[in-house]
């Protein structure tokens, strides 16, 4: 029970970003870094505060927060006041929408298809901290390499692009066909009569490798958007997310976050993760309640939706092993 001198509401502290450590007189201060981008000044300030209030080090969390460990209970208010003054915001913990994570996106990574950190930061402003039955993690990836693990978040997005060929610009070098064959989706074949690549939409992963590699810019984007994955999680019983929609616009990802959180709050039991609630009530019900008729996948996918049907993954193996990224 509470000690007579001071009452500590650990749960309230948790929601504001102070998390109790193993040694109960110490707390971790979790800072909010939406989309994983923080200015140099803010990182320096955080480092200085870690020296002043912690033990001179920061922990970089898996969800892209910067944490200051070993903050004394008695100094928490002073730290909070300094953070407020500097404009450093705190993240959260517990059953609510967490700080939204992202990769570098298309502005930094040439392979990226969407501005993942920009969209994530906007979504974070709108939805961070909304109460949910259990933790709710959201990740935005710029492309389908998926560095922020969209398939392992409650709600995950990755950029995708539908390629279109401008025949007049193509000189028939076959580079796109070779690269697609060995690392994308085996979707392209060379038409020997026309000396142009032909794309089989059923086998396409919409990764944009052909746009990325084309020496003459003959491949252009027909449409760009986000693939949507729901119900992923780590934990004692990990669950791989299910792909439920394709080519969703930036704005519509916000609508989906709203709808998913509302559905989760209506249907989820206390402490039950999003994917578990979907499994308990059935994917069909979830789709009917949240997605129909606006959101759907571009085609029927294999294996939770992360693979086109009928491609030979053994020849795609080089993508996983040889890339150093």
């Amino acid at each position: 029970m509470a000690e007579p001198k001071k009452t500590v509401d650990v749960r309230a502290l948790k929601s504001s970003g102070f998390i109790r450590q193993t040694e109960s007189e110490y707390f971790v201060c979790r800072l909010r870094i939406p989309g994983g981008n923080a200015s140099s000044e803010k990182l320096i300030q955080a480092a200085e505060l870690a020296k002043k209030y912690g033990r001179g080090y920061c922990h970089l969390t898996f969800q892209q927060s910067v944490e200051i460990p070993y903050v004394k209970l008695s100094e928490m208010d002073a730290l909070k006041a300094e953070l407020d003054k500097l404009g450093l915001r705190m993240a959260n913990c517990g059953p609510r929408v967490r700080a939204i994570s992202a990769c570098q996106g298309c502005k930094v990574n040439p392979y990226g298809r969407v501005d993942a950190p920009g969209i994530a930061a906007k979504a974070d402003e709108k939805y961070f901290g909304m109460d949910t039955p259990a933790k709710f993690k959201i990740a935005y990836s710029g492309c389908n390499i998926g560095c922020p693990n969209p398939q392992e978040n409650d709600l995950g997005f990755h950029g995708m692009v539908e390629p279109d060929l401008v025949p007049d610009l193509c000189n028939g070098c076959t580079l796109c066909v070779q690269l697609c064959k060995s690392r994308a989706g085996e979707s392209l074949v060379m038409n020997t009569k026309t000396n142009l690549p032909e794309r089989d939409d059923n086998r396409c992963t919409y990764c944009g490798e052909c746009l990325f590699c084309c020496p003459t810019n003959a491949w252009v984007s027909k449409r760009i958007g986000h693939a949507v994955y729901v119900g992923g999680k780590h934990g004692r019983f990990p669950r791989w997310a299910d792909r439920v929609a394709d080519f969703v616009s930036d704005e519509d990802t916000y609508e989906l976050i709203e709808k998913c959180v509302a559905w989760y709050n209506l249907n989820g039991k206390r402490g039950e993760r999003f994917g578990t609630a979907i499994d308990r009530l059935g994917m069909d019900k979830f789709k009917k309640d949240v997605l129909v008729p606006k959101f759907k996948t571009a085609k029927e996918w294999d294996h939770h939706g992360d693979r086109p049907k009928g491609i030979n993954y053994h020849v795609l193996h080089s993508w996983d092993t040889e890339e150093s990224r």
């Binding site: 000189n171 028939g172 070098c173 076959t174 580079l175 070779q178 690269l179 060995s182 590699c213 020496p215 080089s318 040889e322 890339e323 150093s324």
Partner: protein
Amino acid sequence: MDTKGNGFLDLRGVACPMNWVRTKMVLEEMEIGQKLEVVLDDGEPIRNVPRSLKDEGHKLLKVTPDGSCFRIVIERG
């Protein structure tokens, strides 16, 4: 494809970015319109070297798979 009278460079086992540096050095000695055949490994090399060629205004004419590597024909731009 006819590449006679022009250059040939075997860059198997040469990692990025040295494969591009060596390609560039040979291309700089050549006349505009001349052709250079280069053998590149699969993986990063076949992705990166063509991209550098594009940035520097050279033309990639043909890519042919050859076992675990690729033969590419470049036209000096």
